[in-house]
């Protein structure tokens, strides 16, 4: 006997969660497509974003929402400055450039996680918000928690703005050209350093601000990053590496899988199910469930 009320509530929660995961997945997928780097630091950006929320919110009347613009600017700047380093290790005459990029971001992730752990200690902290509390009850469907709804709206609008930039502006065209072929893009007179930095900065900004929202929804803890790195991997594997539209579906699948597993199987089994899905998809259909991703070597 399936409880219809519970069922729709699970669907709502899953879809709302999916909205914010999409934000993380899109940036990650773009970072892969443009910079050809698999970023192990993605979850740590989420974590640092959440901690910025926890630390800065008290300065703005205990309101996490006001921290978002700061996080966007800071992460964009930091991301734009990190990108040349990644570009440097993935090009040149060194062996295994992709693996070097992977290891570099792995070092960055270790640095961020360890840094936050050392400075703030292992305990989790709340990201306060007085605007985003309570829930909106929709008769016949269930409750929409405000913080999750705003988070999902932010996630989807972030995605829309990002897609607009990418597909409707000259800068976006330059970024897509770099993703297509770095050398040719350079020959066409594109300043690849600049546009790669913009892409990576935008990715870091989106991910960091997603972190503030996640902090408001749950909390901020130094160990939370790994889980979101796992989620980001899950989404790009499902979507197909570098295929942006697939990320939307993958994010929703992820949100729904998470909320259904947590309710109907066990909260402990969520990661097991997710990892089992990644593993099987990678083996059966490495270009994603839609088959439109690209192969990395």
């Amino acid at each position: 006997m399936v409880d219809i009320g519970l069922f729709t509530q699970i669907v709502i929660n899953g879809l709302l969660l999916g909205g914010i995961y999409v934000t993380i997945g899109v940036g990650f997928s773009l970072a892969f497509g443009v910079l050809e780097v698999v970023d192990f630091a993605v979850g740590e950006y989420v974590m640092v974003g959440a901690f910025m929320g926890a630390v800065l919110a008290p300065l703005f009347g205990a309101e996490g929402v006001f921290v978002i613009p700061i996080v966007l600017v800071v992460f964009f700047a930091v991301g734009a400055l990190i990108q040349p380093l990644i570009h440097h290790v993935t090009t040149g005459d060194r062996p295994h450039p992709l693996l070097m990029g992977l290891v570099f971001t792995f070092g960055l992730a270790t640095f961020l996680r360890g840094g936050v752990l050392t400075v703030f200690g292992p305990n989790s902290q709340d990201v306060p918000s007085s605007l985003l509390t309570g829930g909106i009850a929709v008769p016949g469907l269930g409750t929409f928690p405000v913080v999750r709804t705003v988070t999902a709206v932010f996630g989807v609008s972030g995605l829309v703005v990002f897609m607009y930039y990418l597909y409707r502006t000259r800068g976006g065209m330059a970024i897509r050209a770099i993703a297509e072929d770095r050398t040719n893009a350079r020959l066409m007179g594109i300043n690849i350093n600049r546009y790669q930095s913009i892409a990576y900065g935008a990715y870091a900004a989106l991910t960091g601000s997603a972190g503030v929202f996640i902090g408001m929804t749950f909390n901020a803890s130094p160990g939370m990053g790994l889980q979101y790195t796992a989620f980001a991997f899950f989404m790009v594997v499902l979507a197909g590496m570098g295929y942006l539209p697939g990320v939307i579906i993958a994010g929703i699948v992820l949100g729904l899988t998470q909320s259904f597993t947590a309710v109907y199987i066990s909260g402990n089994a969520v990661l097991l199910v997710l990892f089992a899905i990644i593993y099987v998809v990678l083996l059966v259909s490495p270009a994603g469930i839609l088959g439109k991703g690209e192969w990395a070597t």
Binding site: L85, G107, T118, N268
Partner: protein
């Protein structure tokens, strides 16, 4: 010759005497420096061995295995389950750890080694996390309670042994295992034809195949070998530490450390993991003593990795060998500066 041949050549006297001195020092270690340093030595030997086991697949074969720590945990749990749930002595658990790790590694290798690069890294990582989650849920592994292993004198080979299963015992066990790992690596990867096949497939798989190397077979052999080595250390560690929990022995940090150690030391070299393993292990263990914080070593290691990848991709060994000199760093910095042309 071994990786550090030039450095060793610069040492005064015959190199054999230096090896002899080192051997004597390692054998006398627990008696010379007391139990604190014996424990440090024990841990260092284990991590050097583990780093070398990762180096086999990650360094020599070029497959970044981000789930290698799982086999360390599997070895530990295989031995632990044999001893706790079935009441066998340690030697049975030890053999079981090898068998289980080998079979599982082979079963994993067949599909997973079809993936390359980042995909292989993600898949192995996902697999290791699933194994950890499964261990937390299953009952035979003790679930979230973990397993407590017995360590009375009759748990070694079934009948009581006339010596204590003490820290000194484990120090020598690790010394033996670590030396054996080094010798196997030296023989297989630096001396034997097998090593040339492995390096050939790492550098260019198509070219290696065109020369008649069965790359699929070689890859699987390396993977199984490296996983078994990790499991061997895991089983001995489980017995040494007495209590194992999925969040400890199956944690991603185990893999992370192996990767960091091998990378900092120098990928695909015999002596790299020794330097990298010593450096990272000592940083971690002595962090609270010298750095005043038990976690400060993490960001430090993060920076070390980034700097290594940026300026000395061949690791400490590369610096010792003179591959990375002042001019290379200067050239590297200049190229890096050009990439900051953002406006």
């Amino acid at each position: 010759m071994t990786g550090t041949a030039p450095v060793i050549d610069r040492l005064p006297g015959d190199r054999r005497y230096w090896f002899l001195a080192l051997g004597v020092l390692l054998l006398a270690w627990p008696f010379l420096f007391g139990s604190f340093w014996a424990r440090i030595g024990l841990g260092a030997l284990m991590w050097i061995g583990l780093a070398q086991s990762w180096n086999m697949i990650g360094g020599y074969a070029g497959y970044l295995d981000f789930g290698h720590g799982a086999y360390f945990g599997i070895g530990g749990f295989a031995a632990g389950i044999a001893m706790v749930q079935f009441g066998y002595p340690f030697v049975v658990g030890f053999v079981l750890a090898i068998v289980v790790a080998a079979v599982l590694a082979y079963l994993v290798a067949v599909p997973t080694l079809r993936l390359t690069g980042a995909y292989f890294a993600i898949a192995t990582w996902a697999l290791a996390e699933s194994i950890k989650q499964a261990a937390l849920i299953l009952e035979i592994t003790g679930g979230t309670f973990g397993l407590s292993l017995p360590r009375s004198p009759d748990t070694f080979i079934g009948i009581a042994v006339p010596f204590a299963i003490s820290e000194t015992f484990f120090y020598y066990a690790m010394l033996l295992l670590c030396t054996a790992t080094m010798l196997v690596t030296y023989y297989l990867f630096e001396r034997h034809e097998f090593g040339y096949r492995v390096k050939a497939l790492r550098d260019d798989q198509d070219a290696a195949e065109s020369l008649g190397i069965d790359t699929t077979r070689v890859k699987r052999q390396v993977y199984v070998l490296s996983c078994v080595v990790a499991a061997v250390f895991g089983s001995v560690y489980a017995w040494y530490i007495v209590f194992i929990h999925p969040n400890d022995v199956l944690a991603p940090i185990v893999t992370d450390r192996m990767v960091i150690m091998a990378l900092l030391g120098g990928l695909g070299t015999l002596t790299g993991p020794i330097f990298g393993g010593l450096l990272v292990f000592l940083l971690q263990r002595l962090s609270s003593v010298f750095l005043g914080s038990s976690t400060f070593y993490l960001p430090l290691i993060g920076v070390l990795i980034m700097v290594t990848v940026l300026f000395a991709p061949s690791g400490i060994i590369g610096i010792l060998r003179g591959e990375v000199g002042r001019d290379d760093v200067r050239k590297n910095l200049k190229e890096l500066g050009e990439k900051f042309d953002l406006l």
